[in-house]
Point group: C2
Chain length 209, copies 2
DNA sequence: TGACAAGTGTTGGCAGTGTCAACATGACTC
DNA sequence: GAGTCATGTTGACACTGCCAACACTTGTCA
C-alpha cells in the first residue's frame, strides 16, 4: 500500500469530501485532467467507488468543487500580490504585479487553471462560482484604480462603474498569455517569449468606438 | 436508419479516413469534444468499432487530424480576411480585420477551436501541426507589416525577423478574448462586452523592458 | 493467369469508466 | 432506547479505447 493511500478503520470516513478534493487537486497536476477518475480517487482514499456520489451529484460537480477551490487559491494569490505591505519591484504597477501573480499561479497548477477556465464553469450552479467572481472583480478593481489614477488598495465599490470592456481586454490578454504558455502552443523551435515580462505589462486598449 | 448514416455495400469503405474526419468535425460541434467517441463515429459511418485504427494510431492521433483540418480552415479564413480585393470596413486595419476573422472562426466552431488549442497539440508529430504553424506565421507577418508601416499583403519572408514578443502578445490577446467568449466565462449578469469590436482592436504592447 | 503480400475491415474480448438501485452501517435526535 | 437520516458498500449496466486474431479485397509480379 502506497504511503499516499489511507485505509479507513471506521465505516464512516468523516472528511471524505475534503479528502477527495485534496487528492483530486493532486491527481489533476500529476496525471492530467483527462486521466482523473473518481473511481481511482475513491480507491486511493480507501472508500468504495460510489462513495463520492454521497457528496457530489456527478463528476462534473466534483470538478466544479475543484475549480472553486482553485479560484479561492487564485484570489488569495492575486490579493497578496497587491497587498499594501508587499515589497514591489522597481517601477512595478499593481496591475503588472497582479499579472505576474496570475501567471505564476497558472504555471504552478496548469491543469487546475485549465479546469477553472473550461466551458464546464458556465454550467455550474452559483455556489461553485463565488470565488471565480471575486477573482474577476479583484482584477477589475485594480484595473479601474490604475485607470482613474487612484493609488493604494483598489476598492471596486467606491470606484464607480468600471470600464468593463477594458477589464475584459486585460483579462483576455493575460488569460491568453497563460494558456499559450502552459498548453505549449508556442512553437518550440522559435525563441521563447519572455513570459514573465509579458505578464507584467498588460497592454493598453485603444479607446473609442 | 438515419439519413446521416451510410451503409457500405462493399467490404472496403474506400474513403473511411476522410469520412471519419468529416463526421468527427460535425460531432465535435454537435455533442462536444468530451462526448466524441470513435466507436460511435465508426457506427454512424457504417463500419466496425475498430476500423478507425487502420487509419489512426489512437484517438489522440485522430483528434490531431481534426485539429490540423481546423488549422487549415483557420488559415483559409485569416488569409481571406486580408486578401487584396476584399472590401474593408472604414478605417479597418489588416490586423483588425484578421482579429475579427479569427473571432468569427472560433465562434462558428467553438469545440474545434478548443481542440486546436489544447495541450494535445504539443504532443503531436509535425505532420499534424503544419497548418497551425502557417496560421501563426500569417498573424506574425500581418503584425510585422503593421509595425513597420508596410502596406499591402504582408510577407513574413521579406520583413526581416519579426518582433516575436509583440506577436505573442497580440496572439495572446485575441486567443484569450475568443476563449472567454466561447467558454462562457464572462459573468452573464454583467453587460456583455462588445466582442466583435474588441477583436478588431488588437492593443499595443508597451515596448521596452 | 495465379500465387503472394499488403491494406483494410471484422469479431471477440479486456480493462477501465460514470452512474444507478438496493442494501448496510453508524451517528444524531427525541 | 427507537427511529431517522447521512454516509458508505455491493453488484450491475452501458459505455469507452484498444488489442489480437481472423477475413476479405486489391494490387503486384513471376
Amino acid at each position: 500500500m502506497s504511503e499516499t493511500e489511507t485505509r479507513k478503520d471506521t465505516y464512516h470516513h468523516g472528511h471524505l469530501r475534503e479528502e477527495l478534493i485534496r487528492r483530486g487537486l493532486d491527481a489533476l497536476e500529476q496525471e492530467g485532467a483527462e486521466a482523473l477518475s473518481l473511481r481511482a480517487l475513491s480507491g486511493s482514499a480507501g472508500v468504495s467507488k460510489t462513495a463520492p456520489y454521497r457528496h457530489f451529484k456527478d463528476k462534473e460537480e466534483f470538478l466544479g468543487a475543484l475549480a472553486d477551490e482553485g479560484y479561492r487559491l487564485l484570489h488569495e494569490a492575486l490579493a497578496a500580490s497587491i497587498a499594501p505591505g508587499r515589497k514591489r519591484r522597481r517601477a512595478e504597477t499593481p496591475v503588472g504585479a497582479m499579472g505576474r501573480a496570475y501567471m505564476a499561479f497558472a504555471v504552478s497548477r496548469p491543469a487546475l487553471y485549465r479546469l477553472m477556465n473550461s466551458p464546464l464553469m458556465c454550467r455550474l450552479p452559483q455556489e461553485y462560482t463565488g470565488w471565480a467572481r471575486k477573482s474577476l472583480m479583484l482584477l477589475a478593481g485594480t484595473l479601474e484604480a490604475a485607470r482613474t489614477g487612484a493609488e493604494g488598495s483598489p476598492d471596486v465599490r467606491q470606484a464607480g462603474p468600471p470600464d468593463l470592456d477594458a477589464t475584459a481586454a486585460a483579462w483576455a490578454y493575460i488569460h491568453g498569455l497563460v494558456l499559450i504558455r502552459i498548453d505549449g502552443l508556442y512553437p518550440t523551435d522559435l525563441p521563447e517569449p519572455d513570459w514573465d515580462r509579458l505578464a507584467g505589462v498588460v497592454p493598453e486598449l485603444p479607446t473609442g468606438s
